[in-house]
Symmetry: C2
Subunit: 411 residues, 2 copies
Amino acid sequence: MPRLVMKFGGTSVANLDRIRRVAKRVGVEVAKGYDVIVVVSAMSGKTNELVGWVGETGAFYDAREYDAVVSSGENVTAGLLALTLQENGIDARSWQGWQVPVQTNSSHSSARIAAIPSDNLDAKFAGGMRVAVVAGFQGISPEGRITTLGRGGSDTTAVAFAAAFDAERCDIYTDVDGVYTTDPRITSKARKLDRIAFEEMLELASLGAKVLQTRSVELAMRYKVKLRVLSSFEEMSDDAGTLVCDEEDIMESNVVAGVAFSRDEAKMTLVSVADRPGVSAAIFGPLAEAGVNVDMIVQNIAEDGRTDMTFSLPVDQVARAEKAVRDAMARAEINFHDLIADEGVSKVSVVGIGMRSHAGVAARMFKALSAEGINIKVITTSEIKISVLIDRKYMELAVQALHDAFELEKV
Amino acid sequence: MPRLVMKFGGTSVANLDRIRRVAKRVGVEVAKGYDVIVVVSAMSGKTNELVGWVGETGAFYDAREYDAVVSSGENVTAGLLALTLQENGIDARSWQGWQVPVQTNSSHSSARIAAIPSDNLDAKFAGGMRVAVVAGFQGISPEGRITTLGRGGSDTTAVAFAAAFDAERCDIYTDVDGVYTTDPRITSKARKLDRIAFEEMLELASLGAKVLQTRSVELAMRYKVKLRVLSSFEEMSDDAGTLVCDEEDIMESNVVAGVAFSRDEAKMTLVSVADRPGVSAAIFGPLAEAGVNVDMIVQNIAEDGRTDMTFSLPVDQVARAEKAVRDAMARAEINFHDLIADEGVSKVSVVGIGMRSHAGVAARMFKALSAEGINIKVITTSEIKISVLIDRKYMELAVQALHDAFELEKV
């Protein structure tokens, strides 16, 4: 029988009423003839409660024990959903990570899936099981300890099962009904996309459109798993949500698929620093060690052997970054004129695989911003993305202007 | 190194503060040189929450899924205690039932432990682990599914580990500081026993002294595991609590170790029933099938081929028992005169292995009750116990009178 993977997040299984609604949705797919693998998260709030308790035991805890504690929330949901499906007359059972087994490496709390042998589930499907309810987010290490995949790891679990069991599709049920051209709270012209390419989704995910975990999109892209994002709170239909797929499966791409943004950014500039080999490493090595998530990096043209180095980072990491940079410069005896932080910037990006074949996207973007009087502070580009840093007060205006400029209301 | 098993119930691990207190107690034993196996219950209230959710899924649920859900509470406590011990500098790790493994049969929700192979823990102890924190109440079936041992099963887990790992002693930490000659709420003369024989503890446990689960005492008796019951809320000392042990380890036993009681009993009498072979089976078979816990059974001497059959049962099962008996009599076409229920009785018992070698215990008991004007309705005896049914209003008086008559304030 064809197979389908369905994944439900914490808000979709927050209580027994919602679990019953999930069971009904699963039942519809079973009735269509699918053997279904359902991947579930913990009931919303439960994982935070467990994480809180672990934090109470001490600041530096054993990640193996963290995993053993925190994985228990998913086990509860898996059992409850299996029971509810059985109550509806469907042959279902729960599977914890070690029972499948979901084999991972030993990087506790951020483990990577190594393999999912299909024998155990295959045998049960052959014996009449119609639904395997799998506890998401967890696996088992080579040492037989419980591992977790890190926050949001249930999306990754779902995609990995879809790949391992050659599922027709992996449906990610969440609390939004799909991927939008931009956040509808910023402009009412935002439109839901029917399809989006993996590469675009990856850029959007890492830019702050928190619909899918980045790792799960990467995995889906590598194994060509068709991912669908849809709401567990709306009526079911075959064309609901947004399909994340290979670009070949998209008939005609827009030049730009969407406008993403990240509000609380900061910009730091190291003014007039000696421009010699090793200076970048001397700056960004210590920043990485201090846990600063440096995003955009721009180096101005050097003059007289000196240069300005500018980078962006989340605004709440400025203090940490400042200390790391000053310490590093002192240690490496690198002389510089000043270190300036601008904590009032936002990042706005346009993303689209169509850019590859269309010239002039950057020009169109800059023109639209300029028409609104918005000054661009930093620019970076990739093959399918152009990002700019601007004053935070203009963020909404910039998103609206770009949405209009690329006619995204027409998609 | 010598080994010790310590078991902590739900109230002892109800929150992080209490878990820290437990860790301190465990640390004291580690400092003495013990390798320790700690068996933990779920934080109090957690198991009830999980059981409630399972109940919400439907009335007739798959016990395998029930076990998968309900066992998760112990896993959380085990991880949190291991983390807290590590924080105190002790080499500790958590073990879930399937990791040890605790091998059970497939009777889900009331599984029996078949074996606990010691290889895994032994290897870790040899490698420097000082404390294994084991999730109580759970195991793994031959099919690889999670099982639970039934309510209170963590006591049984603890005793089974003590037997499998040849522990010097199994300390059961609970919210009372030991086993008493009777309930101190009934008489202030009640005394804590320093030692009690397994057989006596078994009778007391089944008679309503809810300190230890009966199964765990049976298991301890079979494998000669020294059990100690003590409070997790009092100061530690080497002679705290009550030691439950082999009768040979008790220098001189009192004739009577304690007075037990069960308040809410009922008595039913089937008056003038045909006394022919098979009539007992015709009555008590259907009662068992109806889930009635028949306790004492007395059959009066037959006259003219007819007899009176009296039995006791919990008072809240009277309606069910009445229906079962009437249906059974009709089905088997057994004629009887009347079925009388007395819902106002209590059971009072004296228990002691000394009875075996002392004549006159029954006479002394009956005399003490008679001196208070208490009428005895039913009597049953075993080798180390004498039980009587009396009017409920005399229960406290009877317990006090018997406590005095056997001089239990002097133990």
